[in-house]
Amino acid sequence: MWFLTHTWIMPALMALSFLAILAVGKRLPKKGSEIGVAAVGICFVLALLTAGSWWQHTNDTGESGEHASGVLAVAPGAGDAEEHDPEAFSDVEQGCSRVVDEADHEGNSEKAEADHEGDTEGEEHSSGIAPGESASAESTAVATAEEGEGHAATKPVVRCFTWFDNGPADSSTITVGTMVDGQSVFMLVVVGLISLLVHIYSTDYVNGDRRYTHYFAFLSLFTASMMFFVLAQSTLQMIVGWELVGVCSFALIGHWWEEKPNSNAALKAFLTNRVGDIGLLVGMIILYFAAGRSFSILDINILAASGGISHGLLLVASVCLLAAVMSKSGQFILHTWLPDAMAGPTPVSALIHAATMVVAGIYLVARLYPVFFEGLSIAGSSVNLLAVVGAVTAMFGALLAFVQKDVKKVLAYSTISQLGFMVTALGVGAWTAAMFHLFTHAMFKACLFLGAGSMSHAAHHSFNMVDDYGGLRKIMPRTFWTFIIATGALAGIFPLSGFWSKDEILAGHGTFFSEGGNGTYHVMLAMLIIGAFCTAAYMTRTIWYCFYGEYRGVGTPHESGPRITVPLIILATLGAVVGFLNLPKSIGPINFPESLHTQFEQFVEPVGAYFPSISHAEFNVPLALFSLAVAGLGVLLPYLYYFKGGLAPIRDLSERNALARWGKNVLVNKYYFDWLYTDVITGFVKGPLARAANWFNAKVLDGIVDGVGAGAVVTGQWVYENIDQEVVDGAVNAAGTTATETGGVLRYLQSGRIQQYAALFFAAAALLAGVFVVATG
């Protein structure tokens, strides 16, 4: 429990590390990296301990709720809800949430005994509140009544202190603190882990860089900001963390700011995010007032989930917030900054632009899920904005990845596409699936990026896989194998982690065969499957260019050192196995033991009044097989094309199945294959579609961004020259000109003639006096 109430130590430690590196880093033997690595190491250990503590905590809660946590059957247990719900917030420190406080207050008056187990560990803060059984604050009660889901409520541990007072004394306290529940704990672990590995990796990768110390300082600051964001107790705090990670991203993308493209990319990232931040600010402000002047996430969530906030307001707020999500998480139409952000050092791309910061948007939606859930009417509908944006992004992002030569850009578009998967998942109500995919994606995508970094390390800092890579399989075996595993996970190959998480997302849409999750999102499902296919395909292409064929670059590449390969191995291993953290209950006839399945769901997903009741899709065997087949096809086609393209056509295959026959027909005739692949698929994808997409990307979207920038400059110039200098100044000057026959308007005020000032002064005084004389009469 101590760990749950003292999570603030982690961001504080990282912030301290930032300052320490800046202050003394350059004088240390390893230029400050040791501070950063040590600090982030401690943080990771703390995060693990926190997670363990949370695990313990959840189990305790489960028992006290007299409810076996394993029961997943949808059984509206109203009595059950009443039983444990008042205690669901017993770990919320007083003052952190007005709604909870009110509930506590009323509970107290009725039943003062209400002892509870949650804080027997003797921590000084979260105790002392004796929530009554009935907790009859209207909102809470309503929420709990609706709460039909089976397992026990997990109790968020919330601590806070007053940040500042604003407004009348009774209703104005704005708090800052930590809110620890499954979601934040798991995110802490992800951030801690990836950050630690990236730190270690960086000590080798950026070794000898001109701004080595600054680099580590900003890594520390980024980790601190991200943890601050993750642990946020209030939405205001989230805004702060959100912007701080943005500024770290700015600093790190522009790390090599001597070159203009890098600083342009940094600016583009920051400005695009700022555009989304309009939505963030406005959305958060709406929620603040909607929740009765409270920034507390708990308040907002409870009220949103219980209908305490009108649907219209929630809709507006969620649409506003969606803009922020689109910018930060690279969703379509605001995604253009993310590929450019690859101008930063590769470890930064792995940490910030793949694994952690870009999922801040996902995290935001997940954190304020009731707002989106109710605002967008996710349950029971078949289309909503989140799902549409996510699905479009998933598909188009994947398509764009085909035409890239730069391996990091492939991965960047892949990230965009995968983030689209997560957003869609949230949009269709598959909350857990989204979080789970976030988790697995962080592992394998970080691995891929770091692997790309390792290759460029070998290949003279080039990322152009088409021209400078090739045949690295033999030279860099460790990089190769880790890359392969991570690619498999990304493509969703059984039984790697990506398979499980992607499949859960697909199942959450409802399938063509049966209904599942919160609705029937068939269109999105189709788009995601196309996205999944493309993912497998472009990754295979990437592997071909990187590892097979002959080395096309200059010099002799070599395998990277242990500080690079060890993180790769760790990440690849995790990428392979973390999928088992959230095994479905059963796959067809096979039942998994209780200790294995749905762990993630149980410990991460919040249950209670501050979270909507979402339903979970069952593992759907036909769908899983289908998606696996699609992924297989995605691997197969490029495999045939790239790996086998030069060989004679494979005849036997055509007799085995129709799909292969079709593939064979393609292969028999090379031109036909070329036609199919180059002209029809690649051609279409690479030609009209991708070019259109790229064109749209470069011309329209970038054009709009650039155009707005340029337009603003032009407008600014015009306004400045014509209005500021002429009209406004002119108006001032005109006052002195009224009776003058000649003389330019501008020249007049500049005359410096005292008598004109005198005239002006007396006239003004007389006029004003006149006004007063008339008015006061």
Binding site: A739, T740, Q756, A759, A763, A766, L767, V773
Partner: protein, 192 residues
């Protein structure tokens, strides 16, 4: 000196009683008409020396007005200081700057219309305010009566009491100011 002027102030004396209001008014309006005319000439004449002479007329008129208002001492001072010192200073200034002694066409700038407008506007506003505020209030000289009683029916003594009593410090400050101005003028005008 003051005594010599006593006959002149009969007009003012009489103002307390209604019987002499009419002659006082007659004198006032004649004087006022002269003053306005002279003042306009001051700001419109194209001979700089004439302007100074017209100014003398205005300043004398102001002095007469003071007499009408039973402020003989101020009237005397007005005549002495203005006519005796200031106008002479002006004439010195005119000579020293070698201004054209005859007519000159370039005494005004091109802002006459705005000047007229501002002037008329000011007059209108002030007049409107005055008329609405004070209407037909008559002069009663009540305030003088009180202070005269203290000073033995002598207005000049009363004034002296006022200056060297409550207003002593401002008076001293004023003398310092005059000295400072004197020094300042010397510093400015001296040839280095």
């Amino acid at each position: 000196m003051i005594a010599a002027l006593a006959p002149l102030s009969f007009l003012a004396q009489s103002a307390t009683g209604n019987s002499f209001d009419v002659p006082a008014n007659v004198v006032f309006y004649i004087v006022a008409a002269f003053m306005v005319f002279a003042a306009i000439r001051v700001v419109t004449t194209d001979n700089i020396v004439h302007a100074a002479l017209w100014l003398i007329l205005v300043l004398s008129g102001v002095g007469l007005n003071f007499l009408l208002l039973q402020a003989e001492f101020v009237a005397i001072t007005q005549i002495l200081v203005y006519l005796g010192a200031i106008v002479v200073l002006f004439l010195f200034g005119i000579m020293l700057t070698r201004a054209p002694l005859g007519r000159a066409d370039d005494l005004d700038n091109n802002m006459r219309p705005i000047g007229v407008a501002v002037g008329l506007l000011l007059t209108a506003v002030i007049a409107f305010a005055l008329i609405r505020t004070f209407g037909n209030d008559s002069l009663t000289f009540e305030a003088y009566a009180g202070s005269q009683a203290v000073a033995g029916n002598n207005r000049t003594t009363a004034l002296a009491n006022e200056i060297f009593g409550p207003q002593l410090i401002p008076f001293e400050v004023l003398s310092v100011l005059l000295t400072a101005a004197l020094i300042g003028a010397i510093v400015l005008a001296r040839r280095d």
